[in-house]
């Protein structure tokens, strides 16, 4: 157990207890922000597996997010079931699609690969727009169902969603923590740092990349399923878009690529920025949060590519001198 694990354990404990303390998180809005932070942190962390640890920058993750969302959504809206079968199927499907699509793309280098990933998003986006079975451009709207864990639905009280998000967060971060300290994590980082060198040490880089993208897609799809349960509707422009894909990437970059805490840091900065500026300025200040976000990205990439974690590490190194 690393020293950092105690920190995470404590953090989880605090976050679990937060809603029970009167006053904090009292307002529905604060709870909403917390839920989004946890959700986006989980999403970014899932992306981080492929993009940060394995070094393969993909702009296509919104496809997996969308498959997960539609999986749960279809179960509830089209087949009138509880979302859970859809969640599982959606996640598995996302992993399969990920492996199938990415396998031929692995031979593409750098920029060609990146462009291929967003070509894929655009294709999926438009296909879903005209696909009748999934609701086309109008998407899926949730009907009223009974509240509770079976349907993963609550209409008044957000606290259960909060705990759901916390569980999701723990699953994703826990998985990454596990990978980080076991063979797969080392191999993924080796592929990132030097594929040829890794191969010379017996690492099958294709299998490693496939494993990375399958796990990444699976977890991303779980996040998509949570999203649709919370949002009560889904349509292609919401989930299968380049903008959504970029959120995964940019939150991780802002926080710190390839680190465990990075995605949480990035989400903790971006989400409040997004939600509070929307609340404060609403229609008038259209896009202010994105202007700030864009500037932050430029500054981070230019000055401190390692993101917030990079800044924190540099500070602690200077202190220990």
């Amino acid at each position: 157990m690393k020293r950092g694990d105690t920190f995470w354990g404590l953090l989880l404990l605090i976050m679990a207890v937060l809603p029970l303390v009167p006053g904090i998180l009292a307002s529905s809005f604060t709870q909403h922000v917390m839920i989004l932070i946890l959700l986006f942190a989980a999403m970014a962390q899932a992306w981080n597996i492929l993009g940060g640890y394995c070094g393969q920058t993909s702009f296509g993750h919104s496809v997996f997010f969308g498959i997960g969302a539609y999986g749960a959504g279809m179960a509830v809206v089209t087949y009138h079931l509880a979302p859970w079968p859809g969640v599982i199927l959606g996640a598995l499907l996302a992993a399969l699609v990920a492996m199938a699509i990415s396998y031929p793309c692995f031979k593409l280098s750098g920029h060609y690969f990146a462009i291929a990933t967003f070509a894929i998003v655009e294709i999926f986006n438009r296909l879903f727009m005209v696909w009748y079975w999934v609701g086309g451009a109008l998407g899926l709207d949730y009907p009223l169902v009974d509240e509770g864990w079976r349907n993963f639905m609550w209409y008044e009280d957000k606290r259960f969603y909060y705990y759901g998000a916390l569980i999701l967060f723990t699953i994703v971060f826990g998985t990454v923590r596990w990978i980080e300290s076991h063979r797969l994590g080392y191999y993924m980082r080796a592929v990132r740092e030097g594929q040829e060198a890794a191969e010379s040490l017996g690492v099958d880089s294709t299998r490693v990349k496939l494993a990375a993208i399958a796990i990444s897609a699976f977890l991303t799809a779980l996040c998509g399923a949570f999203f649709v349960q919370y949002n009560l509707r889904v349509d292609p422009s919401m989930v299968m878009s380049l903008d959504m894909s970029m959120k995964f990437v940019l939150i991780t970059i802002l926080g710190g690529l390839g680190t465990l805490a990075g995605p949480l840091m990035g989400a903790a900065v971006l989400i409040p920025l997004q939600e509070y500026s929307r609340a404060l300025w609403g229609g008038l200040g259209g896009g202010v949060d994105l202007i700030v976000f864009g500037l932050l990205i430029v500054i981070v990439v230019v000055r401190q590519p390692k993101g917030i974690m990079g800044i924190l590490n540099a500070i602690s190194r200077r202190r220990h001198r």
Binding site: R183, Y186, R189, E193, G194, A198, S200, L201, G202, G258
Partner: protein, 247 residues
Amino acid sequence: MALLSVRNVSMAFGSLIANDDVTFDIDEGSIVGLIGPNGAGKTTLFNCISGICRPTAGTIHFDGVDITRSPASRTARLGAVRTFQVVHPLQEMTVTDNVMVGAFLRHRKPAAARAKANACIGLCRLEDFCDKRAGSLTIGTKKRLEVARALATGARLLMLDEAMAGLTSTEVRESVELITQLKEKGLTLLVVEHIMEAIMPIADKLVVLDGGKKIAEGPPDTIIRDERVVAAYLGTKFSQKMKSSVP
């Protein structure tokens, strides 16, 4: 049966013939030096053996297994591992993590891999650099890291590509000691080197390449006296000097 068996291997890049009908064997537990002038095809031969290129003709067998068309990762898994002339440290990872990547080949669990890695780090005298970023090391240390990493894979055949280039004379001496130690542990080594003072005393046999062809093969004392080798690579003055130091 020889551990590594290279038979009639040719490697052509378009009209450029880098390796031309090269044949030699390596016996288990021996140190074989691969020498020759720059451009002779030594690194290309390494690339063919280790699986980065596929030879255009010929066969290569490792411990009886045909590895001619085997991709690099499979060859490494079978036990033939190489280092690179231009070092490839995994920059952002620590020295320990770098070596662990190698160790994970035969040790699935992190604890066992770490133990193996620490052993190899000790062998290569890298203990002081354990937690340092691999990218921040000096060239000499990076070369030791390459060796430690390759060692950690549990290789039976270690192929070193100019592992001593750019090292100080102290570092060269330490490398020679290390190679001798490894041989004592039962490893087989194929070493490409230009530093004759280092390789001549320890090699069991030398294979000499020139212009893609093998021009000589034999124990060091024979090679020193071989006219073709002297003409193509060693030079008369040098070979006179070496004759006295080779047993």
